[in-house]
Every structure is written in structure tokens, then in C-alpha cells.
């Protein structure tokens, strides 16, 4: 494989004068299941293989993807990519350059304790059925229950014209469990996700019964929840919501491509923008976590990247292109969903560092407001407006957790909100998730409980 990919890169550099060329071949096996109530909708298996070719010619990018490892097809694809890059480069004002990256030769094997490939499909179905039965059996008012399961195993072969050559295994186990409840015309919906790069042992951390019950319990509790009256309130956020807040409100703005697009962080490097309590990392090194890997899809080793330290913006997430523009080092954040797409800057495991408050102290900070425990979706905008939807929340009355509230969301401006963080807990939790930025990336996010002096809370009452 290395020889073939090297040969293809040589065509780009020698025949078309490319400054840079990389070839990324992948072979992927997937197993998927969808169980609705106690019905297996389908047991699914997939095989994919293909090559992504990326070249830099006269400062312009060319990219080609083909679902083939055939030498003749790859030669034709790299020629197409070079010609198109050359054509596009005719309109360039600022030719693209890449920051230096270490030349690497490595082979990375995944070592799951429980290899998903060695677990029979029947056993995977049994686990999923157990989850759904536990959910449906929790309460008669649970009306539907869905478990999606996927495992992905494969190998990536990366060779670039700088001389790097990396063979790296990929392993992901993911599951989404959702349930809905109905009582007297009131509908509720609840979901959880699991995700790991360690192996099938992720199902040992929580038993299938516990998973099903957890999702069902929330849907039932929400039946009694009231819509809240929107406005500006102090809040306590649980680790699950803090994670999404860090990811959406700050993480996306700290992606160097978005910073260059006009995001509010580019001009604030080294400046204090948040409360002293605010320290965030994006970390690809947490073994087994859903955002972990050793090398990114530009062949750069992953790292623990400090984004903001005690309220001061410390760094951005880079690929080789943006690192060159900022005169920084690439941080190993260039990720591609698969061989069909180009690597772009993506988060890995993004979290807030814990401090020393107890949950009770945080609740004291708020007195009257809301405790938002679990999220459902979130989104960022370049102007620094964030939104996080809430699937589980409660009133806070006199510093105590009160009645549940339904289908709220929080929003605000990132810079303003980071200054309003007035308490950070000592606990810590990470949750897996999937982030959409044109492509899907498997990520993790989390942190401790925190309190915020004020955010805008959306509710329909």
C-alpha cells in the first residue's frame, strides 16, 4: 500500500509540480443495528474502501476521492486533482502554504479488550434488546423506544510527499438510545449516546438495563414538567450541558478556520475574555474516549491543546494551513470523516477544567433560576451567539432543585457569558457526541458543574 500511495504522490510532485501531495487510503468494516421497541428493523453490515488524494499546486488545493485502490484509477484521479488545483489557483490572491510538520513513520494498532469484530451479531442484538425491554418495561406510559448501534473498524494508510507514512487502526463503538412517553396528550422525548474508541467494553460501564431505564426515567419525569417563561436568569449547568456549552460557545470559535472567517477569537489571542475560573482544553489524548486518536488526517500527532487559561485565550485548534497563517504549530485537529471528504479542523475531546465548588455552593450562587442537567442539540454562530437545547431541566428555588421544566434552551454571547461564570465545580464528566460541520466527527465533551450569573433562557410559557 505504501509503495502505491508513494507512487501516486510522486505523479503529483514530479509530473504536475505539486508543492505537496497526500494520499489517504482506508478500509472500513461497519456493523449497524436499529431496534425499534422489540423489533429488529435490520441487522446491517458494510464494507468500504477508497482513497482520498489531496494536492497543493501553485497555492491552490485539489482533492479527489475514489472508491477504488486500482493504480490506474488513482493515477487518473491525482491528475484530475492537480489540473483542477492549478485552474483554481489562477484566481488566488493569497496562495496557500503549509506549516512544517514532523515527518513520521509509524504503525498504530488498536487493542480492544473486547473486540467488536469478535462479538457475534446475535450478542449485539441481545444487548440492544435488553436496553429496549428495560426502557419499555420501566413504565406503561413509555410508548416507543429506539436503539441504534454501530461499530466501525478499519485501517487508514497515510502517505505524504514530505515523507510521512502512517498506518493507523480505527475503532469506534457508538450507540444512541431514545424513548418517548405519552400521557393525557402530553408527549416527551429523551435520549442518550454512548461512544468509545476502546472497544465493546463500553457496554460494561453501564449495564444495558441501566441504560434503558435512564432514558425511560427522564421521559417519564418530563411528563410532569412545565414550560418555563423565557427571560434572563442565573443558572447551574450540569457537566453534560457544560460540555456542549464549551463545544458550541467556545470550541467552534477556537477552530482556526472559523477564527480566520471573522470569529471573535482571532483578535483576542493572549487577551483576557472570561472569568478567572475559565480554563478549557481540546484533548485528543484521552485513551478510549470518543474523540481520541494518535495522528490526524494530515499525519500530525494529536495533543492536549490549551484553548483558554484562567480566562485568557491561549491558543486555537489548527491544521497545517491555518498554523502557517498564525505562525503557530499544527495541533493535530485536521480530521476527515472518511476517504470521501477532505480533512478540516475538528474538535476532539473538549472540556472545562474543574475547580473547587461543591454542587451545594453552586446552587447557593443561583438561589432563584434553573438547573439544566442534560442537553439536546446545540449550535454556534461566528458572531459569538450560542444556543444549547435542554432535554432535562429544573427550577431552582431558594438554592434547591425544584420542579422539572421542559424543552427549554439557553443562549447568549460567548464573550459576555464567559465573564459571567461565577462558580466551577470539582466534579468532572465526559460525554461522547457527534459534531456536524459539513462532515460528522466523533467527539467528546464535558466538564464539571458550573454556575453562570445570567444567560437568556428560551421557553414558551
Amino acid at each position: 500500500m505504501k509503495d502505491l500511495l508513494t507512487k501516486i504522490n510522486n505523479i503529483a510532485t514530479q509530473k504536475f509540480g505539486a508543492q505537496y501531495s497526500e494520499a489517504r487510503a482506508q478500509k472500513i468494516d461497519k456493523t449497524m443495528l436499529t431496534i425499534k421497541e422489540e423489533r429488529v428493523e435490520a441487522a446491517k453490515q458494510g464494507i468500504e474502501s477508497g482513497v482520498a488524494l489531496r494536492v497543493l499546486v501553485n497555492g491552490g488545493w485539489g482533492f479527489a476521492s475514489v472508491g477504488s485502490l486500482d493504480a490506474a484509477i488513482l493515477e487518473s484521479a491525482i491528475s484530475d486533482a492537480c489540473r483542477m488545483a492549478k485552474m483554481a489557483s489562477s484566481h488566488l490572491k493569497t496562495p496557500i502554504k503549509l506549516a512544517e510538520a514532523k515527518v513520521v513513520t509509524d504503525c498504530v494498532r488498536s487493542k480492544p479488550r473486547k473486540n467488536p469484530a469478535e462479538i457475534q451479531m446475535e450478542d449485539k442484538i441481545k444487548t440492544a434488546m435488553t436496553v429496549n425491554k428495560a426502557g419499555l418495561g420501566y413504565d406503561k406510559r413509555i410508548k416507543s423506544f429506539t436503539m441504534d448501534y454501530m461499530d466501525l473498524m478499519g485501517t487508514s494508510y497515510f502517505v505524504n510527499s514530505d515523507g510521512s507514512s502512517i498506518e493507523q487502526d480505527k475503532l469506534y463503538v457508538w450507540s444512541r438510545i431514545s424513548g418517548s412517553a405519552l400521557n393525557e396528550g402530553v408527549f416527551t422525548f429523551s435520549r442518550e449516546e454512548l461512544g468509545s474508541t476502546a472497544g465493546y467494553e463500553v457496554f460494561d460501564e453501564q449495564t444495558p438495563e441501566d441504560l434503558g431505564e435512564k432514558v425511560a426515567k427522564r421521559a417519564i419525569e418530563q411528563l410532569g414538567a412545565k414550560s418555563l417563561k423565557g427571560g434572563t436568569f442565573p443558572v447551574v449547568l450540569g457537566p453534560n450541558v457544560v460540555g456542549v456549552f464549551v463545544h458550541e460557545a467556545f470550541g467552534h470559535l477556537a477552530e482556526a478556520d472559523l477564527a480566520l472567517s471573522g470569529g471573535v477569537l482571532a483578535g483576542n489571542l493572549g487577551k483576557k475574555i472570561g472569568s478567572d475560573l475559565v480554563t478549557f482544553y481540546d484533548d485528543g489524548t484521552i485513551e478510549g474516549s470518543f474523540g481520541a486518536f494518535k495522528y490526524d488526517d494530515e499525519g500530525v500527532q494529536t495533543q492536549k491543546t490549551l484553548l483558554i487559561k484562567d480566562g485568557v485565550v491561549a491558543g486555537l485548534m489548527h491544521n497545517r494551513e491555518t498554523a502557517q497563517k498564525f505562525n503557530a504549530k499544527p495541533t493535530g485537529n485536521a480530521r476527515a470523516e472518511d476517504f470521501r471528504v477532505e480533512p478540516i479542523i475538528r474538535m476532539r475531546c473538549t472540556y472545562m477544567e474543574p475547580r473547587d465548588c461543591s454542587f451545594e455552593e453552586l446552587m447557593e450562587n443561583v438561589k432563584q433560576g434553573f438547573y439544566f442537567k442534560s442537553f439536546r442539540g446545540g449550535q454556534a454562530n461566528l458572531d459569538g451567539t450560542f444556543q444549547v437545547g435542554i432535554q432535562e431541566g429544573y427550577e431552582i428555588v431558594n438554592g434547591e432543585v425544584g420542579a422539572p421544566v421542559r424543552d427549554a434552551s439557553i443562549s447568549g454571547n460567548t464573550l459576555e457569558t464567559l465573564n459571567k461564570v461565577d462558580g466551577v465545580g470539582k466534579d468532572f464528566l465526559l460525554d461522547p457526541g457527534r459534531c456536524g460541520k459539513g462532515q460528522i466527527a466523533f467527539v467528546c465533551d464535558g466538564g464539571p458543574h458550573i454556575s453562570i450569573k445570567e444567560v437568556v433562557v428560551g421557553g414558551s410559557a
Binding site: T34, R39, V40, E41, A43, K44, Q45, I47, E48, S49, G59, G60, G62, F63, A64, V66, G67, I73, S76, A77, A81, R83, M84, A88, H91, L92, K93, T94, M121, E122, I125, S144, S180, F187, T188, G230, G231, L260, S261, G262, V264, G267, R340, F375, G377, G378, Q379, A380, N381, L382, T385, Q387, G389, I390, D407, S409, V456, V457, G459, S460
Partner: protein
């Protein structure tokens, strides 16, 4: 790379079906997909990226003893790989559990002949031409105002074809083209940057107006620079197609899917024939809409596309069915089995979700509003409750309408409510219809929506 011919695709599908039957499947269906796309990308104010993506594959569903197995591969030129994927589908079916409700794959029905879904001009576009169009769009955006920065966009064209065959005699082939050009821009002044403003043209035939796209995106961005807050209250909204598309996709669409209804996940259950929306509102799912972005001869199971009236003058008329959900109720599929190429099994989806237009132009709609907001883009629509239809989202941004005029932009405005209330509170449907993904719609005016200002 040359595209696969009709007979090659159909033969591959038919052969896979007959092989699966030979290997012991009681029923089988094969879906073959090819997509070839060329894109010229704009990033950070310049044309700097190009790509060409060729994706082909085969997905096969087999049934043994009422249990379903599925497998796919993108290696279709190798008979051994195809044979092995059929075996994988069969072994998946054997590991799976029988479904007592399974009543068989769909049977064959004639397909309509389509208009305006394939344009040889798109299929044969040279990348030089695409680069030219991207440059025109970029210049148009830049000429509107110096403060505009086009952050992303470009032009892409694609050829897509698919073939489907099953053991009940279905055998179909369809091909189509699509071209799309777009600009996402912000405007910057001092330390202030606007939310991302987006415009695009998408068409099945080679009809795009890059100058319009560039100018409109830029104009919106500039108009979002100066902002004032709005007060918290219930107000009149004009929802543009961007907002409608986002909001409906995560709420209303779930409610009209037959599987949601059957699984008690839809507030519309048992409400066929009842008034569920304002009488101003008529919604059809029209898989045959001339030139529709989701117009194809058949769905992901080879069932002919059709036009289904979902809501007629506010009265709920029909849900959207695939073959499985239809057979549960002893009905016929409405041709709404969606499919993510060869990678997935079918699941119910809209084709072209068409909000039928009314008589008022956009200008007339604006001029008749005394106090309200017009909303272009929504942030967080995917966090809506897909079952209850409750949403709590941010308008990024909204523009204030006062005495018939757009007066200023406002950022960070939150909108909260329930989609089923919104449907009842529709007071006006415009005539300015346009296509956006699965939606074909004009602007829609809604009364009494909760707005939370700062």
C-alpha cells in the same frame, strides 16, 4: 471517470437479487448508486479549493424467515466482493429476529416520465466554467460593500444515478443532475462581526444566477451590522424559507411520518380529517414536482414517486408511508422511502415538501405588518423536541418590521413555542415560492409567537 450506463447498473442490481435468492433468501432487493460531483470552493474570500468525488456502491436487503438483513459495499466491479456482500446480508438476516409484521417487499408499478431532472449541460460542465462562475459570484459579493467578507461557498455540480431491483419484479433506473452555487458571508466593522448570512441557487438544470447569490448574501450581511434589541413579547413573525426548512425538518416532518404515528410519537395520531392548522395552509409531498430538488421517478424501494396531500386548507389528509408502514395499515406506500445512497436501509422521508403559495407578494406581506419580525436563519432547530413539537431557538438574526418597513436587525432573539400552535396561527402564505432542500415554500406569516429579547 465515465459514468456507469443504465444497463450496467440494472444488471448489477438484478443479478444481486437473483444471487441472493439462490443463496437462500426468501426475498431480496438491491439498490445501486452512483454519484459524481465536482466542486469549486470559496474559502476566506478567495477560490482556493477544488474537489472531485466519485462514489458508487451496492446495498442489498434480504429477508429470511421474516427477518431482515442488510449489507453494502462500494467495491462493485469485483464479482467476489459482490458475492461476499450478499453473504453478509444473509448472515445478518440469520442473526436477526423475525418480524411478525413483515408483509413483503413492494411490487412493481409503472413510473412517470419526469421533466427537468437531468440536464446534459450539468453532466458535461468543465471545471473552467465552474471556476468562472465562482469568480463572478465572489466579485458580486465584494462589490456590495467593503465590509463584506465571503467566508465560504462555491459552486458544485453533480450527476446521480440509481437502480433498484427486487424479487417482486421491480426493476428501475433513474438519473439526474443538480447544480448549486452558494455564498456564506459575514460583514465586519471594528470588533463587530455579523452572524453568517447565506444565499444560494440550486437547480436540476443549469440555471444559476451567481450575481444574485453574491449580492443577496452580501446585502443581508451588511444589513445585520447595526443591531438593536427587541422586547420580550408575543409577536407577528414572517418565517422565510430558511427558517421554515429548519423548523419543519425537526418537528412537522416527524409528525407526518406514518412510522411516528404508528409508534405513538406523533401528535397527529387519530387526527386524519380533523383541522390541525390554519385554513391558509395546504401542504403536499410532491415527489414528481417539475424540476424539484427531490424529484425522482421512484423512491428508495423502487415505489413510484407521487403527489400526496398532507394538509388541505388546514385539514389533515394523509401521512407519509414507505412500504412497511403502509402494509401495517393495509395501505399502499406513498413513495416516501428515503435512502442515504447505498449506505442505508430505507426510512420514511419527505420528497419535495410543498407549502402551496398564496397571493401576496413579499412586499405586500411586509407592507401590511404594523409590528413584527422577519426571521431568516435559525440556530438550534435540531434541538427541538421531535415528538412534542416544542422548540426554543435563536434567530440569527431577525429583522424588526415596523409600520410596513424593515427598520433594524436584532441579534440573539430567542423564539419559543410549539409547532402545532404555529401551524394554527398561520395568518398568511405568500406567493414568493422557492426551493430549499426538501422544502418548496413561500414566506409564511405566523401570529402570536413568543419572542425573548435581551
Amino acid at each position: 471517470m465515465a459514468v456507469l450506463k443504465k444497463d450496467v447498473m440494472v444488471n448489477l442490481a438484478e443479478k444481486a437479487v437473483s444471487q441472493a435468492l439462490k443463496k437462500g433468501a426468501s426475498e431480496a432487493e438491491a439498490y445501486v448508486y452512483e454519484g459524481q460531483a465536482t466542486n469549486i470552493g470559496i474559502e476566506l474570500g478567495q477560490i482556493s479549493k477544488t474537489n472531485r468525488i466519485i462514489d458508487r456502491g451496492l446495498g442489498i436487503r434480504v429477508v429470511t424467515e421474516k427477518a431482515m438483513g442488510f449489507a453494502y459495499t462500494n467495491v462493485i466491479d469485483d464479482p467476489i466482493a459482490v458475492d461476499s456482500v450478499i453473504s453478509k446480508a444473509l448472515s445478518a438476516a440469520k442473526a436477526s429476529k423475525p418480524d411478525p409484521d413483515w408483509k413483503g417487499l413492494p411490487g412493481s408499478k409503472p413510473y412517470a416520465s419526469l421533466e427537468k431532472t437531468f440536464d446534459y449541460k450539468i453532466a458535461e460542465l468543465e471545471s473552467e466554467e465552474l471556476v468562472k462562475v465562482a469568480a463572478i459570484m465572489l466579485d458580486a459579493a465584494g462589490q456590495v460593500d467593503k465590509r463584506v467578507f465571503p467566508i465560504e461557498g462555491g459552486i458544485g455540480c453533480a450527476y446521480i444515478s440509481n437502480a433498484v431491483a427486487n424479487s417482486n419484479g421491480i426493476s428501475g433506473f433513474d438519473k439526474g443532475t443538480v447544480v448549486e452555487c452558494s455564498i456564506a458571508a459575514v460583514a465586519k466593522e471594528g470588533n463587530s462581526v455579523t452572524p453568517v448570512c447565506f444565499e444560494f441557487n440550486a437547480s436540476r438544470s443549469y440555471e444559476v444566477d451567481p450575481v444574485w447569490v453574491g449580492k443577496e448574501a452580501a446585502k443581508l450581511a451588511v444589513s445585520a451590522l447595526k443591531t438593536k434589541s427587541v422586547e420580550t413579547k408575543s409577536t407577528t413573525l414572517i418565517l422565510t424559507q430558511f427558517a421554515l426548512q429548519d423548523l419543519f425538518a425537526y418537528t412537522l416532518v416527524n409528525a407526518v411520518r406514518a412510522d411516528s404515528v404508528q409508534r405513538n410519537q406523533s401528535a397527529f395520531k387519530g387526527k386524519i380529517g380533523e383541522k390541525v392548522a390554519s385554513e391558509k395552509l395546504t401542504v403536499c409531498d410532491d415527489g414528481l414536482f417539475a424540476g424539484g430538488l427531490r424529484t425522482w421517478a421512484f423512491d428508495g424501494e423502487g415505489v413510484p414517486h407521487q403527489k400526496t396531500t398532507v394538509i388541505e386548507k388546514g385539514v389533515l389528509r394523509s401521512f407519509l408511508y414507505d412500504n412497511y408502514s403502509a402494509k401495517i395499515e393495509g395501505k399502499e406506500s406513498t413513495g416516501n422511502a428515503g435512502r442515504a445512497g447505498y449506505l442505508s436501509t430505507p426510512s420514511i422521508d419527505t420528497t419535495n415538501f410543498h407549502i402551496l403559495p398564496g397571493n401576496k407578494t413579499a412586499d405586500e406581506m411586509l407592507s401590511e405588518i404594523d409590528d413584527g419580525l422577519i426571521v431568516y436563519y435559525l440556530q438550534g432547530a435540531h434541538s427541538s423536541n421531535p415528538v412534542s413539537g416544542e422548540f426554543s431557538v435563536v434567530a440569527t438574526p431577525a429583522w424588526k418590521i415596523k409600520k410596513g418597513e424593515i427598520t433594524h436587525c436584532s441579534r440573539g432573539v430567542m423564539l419559543a413555542g410549539n409547532i402545532f400552535e404555529v401551524l394554527k396561527n398561520v395568518s398568511l402564505v405568500g406567493s414568493n415560492e422557492r426551493q430549499m432542500g426538501q422544502l418548496i415554500s413561500p414566506w409564511v406569516q405566523v401570529e402570536n409567537v413568543r419572542v425573548i429579547g435581551k
